[in-house]
């Protein structure tokens, strides 16, 4: 009923291949955009911005980057955390060398640094596949974090070895640094994430995306039908590392405010990989669902015992939290091994034929 598609006729091929073949999808998206751009900013407090909304958006973006590489092009990577670090350090260097630079531009530029590093570490993918490639990207992970620690120029030789975000404003509005209000930072991240998501959707459903999917499903067959494997794989590494790098720069500049090299170590890579896997490999929507489950849900759960007035110690709450999130992850993966995005796809199918299932 809600999702009735009867009466929505397609009279041209173009209409059939449109972004929203079903009108309700567009309405739903519009509703979500209104929520994100109007309702949340009007209602959220600083805690909601800084502990829920901003991190979910940034992690979703990082997972989106990884998903392009792993979910669409089928190249397993364990170096996401390090590529985020490359983006963050590149942005830090850009902003400290050219303090007048527009932050938006600086973040977009730092993505290119991360992308070129990504392509460099993507070269082995031309010869090795699967788990072996994962090991090669793991090398990138260890090497880059080591570099962040040892190369003093990267952190301007500060005694603590950490990078600190200075106050940065665009047109007189503070966006980064301690004085920036959370709502400005939220809008900055939201605009950036929305733009990149639109680009990613169109990229993955077009010619390049189909090449990636062909490479993922069977690379020999893809080569036989005329796809240049080297180009396709390296492009996937480029685009993926670019998005991941932008996410890394946002991670430090718009959210954390300070970072040390250890932040970009392997746990971060795994975290992003889990978001992509649980959300659903080979989907855009899944990254958002995964980030909500992995990033936002623990924050919300940890507030529940206090809200209910249960006399639990914080350590117990933390243990319960880890256990319940773990149980949820297992549950979701048993119910739907293809991730949360597939859940939504199934639900949508059911809604379309409801109330008359065949």
């Amino acid at each position: 009923m809600l999702y009735r598609v009867a009466g929505q006729f397609k009279t041209s091929y173009q209409a059939d291949f449109a972004l929203f073949p079903v009108r309700q999808d567009a309405w739903l998206l519009g509703f979500i955009l209104v929520l994100a751009f109007v309702v949340f900013p009007l209602t959220a407090n600083e805690f909601v911005f800084r502990a829920l909304l901003i991190p979910v958006l940034i992690y979703s973006l990082a997972a989106l980057g990884l998903n392009i590489l792993t979910g669409y092009a089928g190249q397993l990577s364990l170096g996401t955390g390090a590529f985020m670090g490359v983006g963050a350090y590149a942005c830090y260097k850009l902003m400290t060398i050219f303090p007048e630079l527009n932050l938006f531009v600086a973040i977009l530029m730092s993505g290119f640094v991360s992308a070129s590093v990504g392509v460099m570490f993507g070269l082995p993918s031309l010869r090795i596949k699967g788990f072996y490639l994962a090991i090669a990207t793991l090398a990138a992970q260890f090497f880059l974090v080591w570099l962040f620690q040892k190369w003093g120029w990267l952190y301007n030789y500060s005694a603590s070895g950490a990078i600190q975000v200075p106050n940065i404003s665009i047109l007189g509005i503070d966006f980064a640094g301690p004085t920036a209000p959370a709502i400005n930072q939220y809008f900055f991240v939201l605009v950036m994430v929305t733009l990149i998501t639109i680009a990613a959707i169109n990229l993955t459903r077009g010619r390049i995306g189909r090449q990636w999917k062909a490479v993922r499903d069977m690379d020999i067959a893809a080569e036989l039908v005329g796809i240049n494997l080297m180009k396709a794989k390296l492009l996937a590494f480029f685009v993926s590392s670019y998005i991941v790098g932008v996410a890394g720069a946002l991670f430090v500049f718009l959210w954390r405010g300070a970072a040390e090299a250890n932040l970009f170590d392997i746990p971060l890579s795994f975290r992003v990989l889990f978001i992509a896997i649980i959300g659903g490999l080979g989907s855009i929507l899944g990254n958002y669902l995964g980030a909500i489950l992995i990033v936002a849900l623990p924050v919300i759960i940890s507030g529940v015992p206090a809200a209910l007035g249960l006399p639990l110690t914080p350590a117990t709450v933390d243990h319960l939290n880890i256990m319940s999130i773990g149980a949820l992850i297992i549950l979701f993966l048993i119910l739907e091994p293809h991730g949360l995005a597939r859940f939504w796809a199934v639900a949508r199918e059911k809604l379309i034929i409801w109330p008359f299932p065949h």
Binding site: L19, F20, D25, L28, L29, F31, I32, L33, L35, A36, V39, F40, N45, E46, F47, R50, A51, L52, L53, P55, V56, A159, S160, G161, A162, Q164, P166, N167, G177, P178, T179, T194, T197, I201, R256, G257, A258, E260, N262, D265, I284, L285, Y288, L289, I292, A296, L297, I300, I301, G303, V304, A306, A307, T313, P314, A315, V317, D318, H319, W344
Partner: protein, 437 residues
């Protein structure tokens, strides 16, 4: 295509899950960012138990401070900087009077925000050494002592007061490869330049804490005259067992206060004899304050400590107690000054700037001999209490020195320099202009 459907779910969860209680007016909201889970829980737990138990004791014995009960809530961070952000925002929304970040990494994130959010940051004997400069860091405090003070006191003790006697010697600095471990390096480098000893930093990565064979191989090869350790969590126990295994002479092995941790030494027992650490606190389980805690908290079953392992008598637990003693003194000073028992953040900040714990006051508080006298001012947020060298005798730590003090002529200019650098990097950085000292 419903790329942002995520946010729809989010809105529902926010409405359902977020019940932030309003700040209660009739309590002193002094939360702590604890870590009783994760790789650093072994050192975090006893300290945080000590802090919590002292505050509980004040609630039980005196009904709080000047009649206002203390809410000493904990927010679990697992030493994770990401959870640190979350905890900070959560506690701020709850109307916290103070931020106790318990990690140099979290301090780094929170420090620039102190001026904006106007919540005092209290990091007893950790965090940035430059926080001593109260004119620059209006809202940050690290009383009773800083890492640079600690480094200077260790060097004074090793050289027996004559730093020139270190000329030609070699000092290895075994530290956690983390902002915390790197903190004292500038001071050591300056000393090594001035007094002609070789300074050799040996970093231990977070992943190698429990297996330091590479580092100790290097130590054996370099044969330093002293090894100074700046470790935390599992790293200290790892280093001590490795030192015993490689038969490094324990008399030449010295640690900062976090290394004065009984469980780490109990692992090696008599083999650890001669190991020394600089500690600004000393244990005295018979001190009136400890007896009160025993009576009102531990025996009443309100403590989380592990009594069977002797946690009550440990350096770490009693150090935690003293951290809370200092904070409670600041609250008292603030209440007296404000003329009201319910204080706000700004008043507590004044209190933290006016802690005066002289010998007489230490005795009144029942902590005589457990720590050195301490006095903070608006220009000096550290207070520079002294510290003792304590030595492991195979079973427990014993005091082996008088109260040491740091070299002020050396540290103060360095503090000023670092503080100025910090302010410049974070421009526009508001200075504390009210302070005219």
């Amino acid at each position: 295509m419903k790329k942002l459907i995520a946010n729809a779910l989010l809105s529902a969860t926010i409405l359902a899950g977020l019940c932030l209680p309003a700040a209660a007016q009739d309590t002193l909201n002094l939360p702590n960012m604890s870590y009783r889970t994760g790789p650093f829980a072994a050192t975090g737990t006893p300290h945080q138990n000590g802090q919590l138990d002292y505050m509980t004791m004040l609630n039980e014995r005196d009904g709080g401070i000047n009649g206002v009960r203390i809410a000493f809530d904990e927010c679990e961070t697992a030493y994770n900087t990401e959870k640190g952000v979350e905890c900070y925002e959560r506690l701020k929304a709850d109307g916290a009077l103070v931020t106790q970040p318990w990690s140099t990494g979290i301090t780094l994130q929170v420090l620039p925000r102190t001026n904006v959010d106007e919540i005092p940051l209290y990091g007893p004997s950790y965090g940035f050494s430059a926080m001593q400069d109260g004119k620059t860091f209006k809202w940050a405090f690290n009383a009773p002592t800083s890492y640079w003070d600690g480094a200077s006191m260790i060097m004074n003790a090793l050289s027996e007061g004559d730093l020139d006697s270190m000329n030609g010697k070699k000092i290895a600095f075994l530290h956690l490869d983390h902002p915390y471990g790197k903190e004292p390096i500038p001071l050591f480098e300056k000393l090594s330049e001035q007094h002609g000893f070789a300074f050799l930093p040996i970093p231990v990565g977070l992943t190698e804490m429990q297996n330091q064979s590479a580092q100790w191989l290097q130590i054996r090869r370099e044969r330093p005259d002293y090894v100074i350790m700046w470790g935390w969590g599992a790293m200290n126990a790892g280093a001590i067992t490795e030192a015993v295994k490689t038969r490094y002479p324990m008399e030449q092995f010295v640690s900062v206060w976090w290394g004065a941790h009984n469980p780490d030494l109990k692992l090696v027992g008599a083999d650890g004899k001669g190991y020394r650490a600089l500690s600004w606190n000393f244990t005295d389980s018979n001190a009136p304050v400890m007896q009160d805690i025993k009576k009102h908290v531990v025996d009443a079953g309100k403590s989380q400590i592990d009594q069977a392992s002797g946690e009550f008598d440990s350096m770490a637990y009693q150090r935690g107690v003293l951290m809370s003693v200092i904070l409670a003194e600041a609250v008292r000073a603030a209440q007296d000054h404000a003329g009201t028992p319910t204080i706000d953040q700004e008043q507590l900040r004044w209190g933290l700037e006016n802690v005066n714990m002289d010998e007489a006051r230490l005795k009144e508080l029942g902590v005589e001999g457990m720590m050195g006298p301490l006095k903070t001012t608006c220009a000096n947020h550290t207070g520079n209490a002294g510290a003792w060298m304590v030595e492991w005798n195979g079973e427990e730590f014993v005091k082996v020195s008088d109260l040491l003090s740091a070299d002020r002529e050396l540290i103060d200019p360095l503090v000023e320099e670092e503080a100025a650098k910090y302010a410049a990097a974070n421009a526009p950085w508001p200075m504390n202009d009210e302070c005219s000292m």
